[in-house]
Subunit: 118 residues, 2 copies
């Protein structure tokens, strides 16, 4: 558990369980968020910048799930909170997973797909 100033506690990557990760990614809201982060530039993003159609207490819940599943790092800046994917760490422990899920989720949304969903 790291605990920097403003950084919310997150599990060490070694303690993260694949089952928890897959559960986290199974939810459409959370997957949508992770998707945006994956094909973002890796920079920090305001939590409020994700257009989730749910109550704010529910959003808090989802951020906690993503944090505890080892997917994101979250920083509390007083007036707002910010998230960052744990890209490299995550990739080291679960190689290929983010790319594959992102690829699958993106397929069918692409403007020029090679093989239509049918």
């Amino acid at each position: 558990m790291s605990s920097m100033p403003g950084e919310l506690p997150i599990p060490e990557m070694a303690a993260v369980d694949l089952g928890a990760v897959l559960s986290a990614l199974a939810d459409p809201h959370r997957r949508a968020v992770v998707l945006e982060l994956v094909d973002g530039d890796g920079a920090e993003r305001a939590c409020s910048s994700f257009p989730l159609p749910i109550a704010k207490s529910t959003r808090t819940h989802h951020w906690r799930v993503l944090r505890e599943a080892g997917l994101v790092r979250q920083r509390d800046a007083g007036n707002g909170t910010f998230v960052r994917l744990r890209r490299d760490e995550f990739e080291a422990k679960f190689p290929g997973l983010l790319d594959v899920v992102a690829g699958i989720s993106t397929a069918g949304i692409s403007t020029a797909r090679s093989a239509p969903v049918r």
Copy 2:
């Protein structure tokens, strides 16, 4: 929904949802089963041949989940049931997913790993 003699009904691949797949793979028992199927030779396997430490009614439940998530095809042979991974179909719709999950799950169990879990 296909329905051959003895074949239990399964969803068409097009109707399978990634969320359902990830949920299915999130459970340790089910993931263990899928793992065995992935690094098997693709042949049919008796459902009774998986050493799951759970009641048989619970096993029935898990097989249903795997079936409905589009991961396996199940055949009822009167005295016993058999499963087969929907390998190619699944690979076509969710490219790389099975291999990545299998790879991750296998890492740390391998006899000669390149990078210890640490």
